[in-house]
Amino acid sequence: MANHSNMTQEQNKFVKKQHKEEMKQQVISFALMILFTLIAFGMVLLEIGSVFLVPTLLLLAVIQVLFQLYYFMHMKNKGHDMVAVMMYGGLSVAILTIITFTTIIWW
């Protein structure tokens, strides 16, 4: 704690700059997320009757969620190894659950 409170002016500036840099990345990811949402809604409204429509919609959702997790929720930052273990653990169980429910239980 002590070395934190003795942070010099120089370090302080550096930290603020880092926060700004991160904020910029987050605004860019927000713009991309809006764009992906618009594409997804647009594809459905334009009634593109392709077999690739549903997979594309799901792909757009996955990319959006990755932006949310890695930029908005800071999973790209250091010290998130345990976080990644938990989220990917949860996600793998989640995928198995959905596969099971849609193929075996109510086939």
Binding site: T37, F41, V44, M73, T97, T100, T102
Partner: protein, 206 residues
């Protein structure tokens, strides 16, 4: 140095939410919870995907869903995710007033979302007589979307409670982890919504 001084340093460290052991524990524990929430919502999504063709009548997804409303709700929730990022940015820069303002905007956007969702449910029930008991699709739909709405309501109450409880405290190492995990929860609600608008609404009308 007393306990009080340790929690209120003159200069906030780089990551105030993880500067104390309690903060670190909250951080890891909360992500553990989010991993579990992922599985919980996967069960509801799996159920919905398995049962959404069992409509027993006219109220099919194509017939019910209006994409305009869903689009507005998506924009509200997505924007509220960005505003809570702004709130955390100001928290890290130790600007309490700006953090409170951005959290306030987040809450207003969240309330807007919730209002539209309630309107949507009321509309389905009164105009279409589509209820929880109408069909297997009805049960699966209201359980999944309603559970998400419940999360929104809980998240809003949580953020408002934090804002009021800490309104005179400012940011310190005691409440920074609290604000931080509440914002994580809010982002996670948006993560779930991305899949709801894709899987339930968009894939429902395709």
């Amino acid at each position: 140095m007393s306990h009080e001084d340790v929690l209120n340093p003159k200069q906030l460290p780089h990551d105030p939410e993880k500067a104390t052991l309690e903060g670190k524990n909250k951080f890891v524990g909360f992500w553990f919870f989010l991993g579990g929430e992922t599985v919980l919502f996967a069960c509801l999504f799996g159920t919905y995907l398995a049962l959404n063709r069992s409509t027993s009548g006219d109220n099919t997804p194509e017939h019910l869903f209006g994409l305009e409303l869903v689009f507005i709700m998506t924009m509200l929730l997505l924007t509220s995710s960005l505003t809570s990022v702004y709130a955390m940015y100001h928290m890290k820069n130790n600007d309490f007033r700006k953090m409170q303002i951005w959290l306030g905007i987040t809450v207003i956007l969240g309330l807007g979302f919730l209002g539209f969702e309630i309107y949507e449910f009321v509309h389905y029930i009164h105009e279409y007589e589509f209820t929880f008991r109408s069909s297997a699709f009805g049960s699966a739909f209201y359980t999944l979307v309603g559970f998400h709405g419940g999360h929104v309501l809980f998240g809003l109450s949580w953020i408002v409670a934090l804002m009021i409880r800490n309104s005179k405290r400012g940011i310190n190492l005691y409440n920074a982890p609290k604000f931080y995990i509440a914002s994580l929860y809010w982002h996670f609600i948006d993560v779930v919504w991305v899949f709801i608008f894709t899987v339930v609404y968009l894939m429902g009308v395709v």
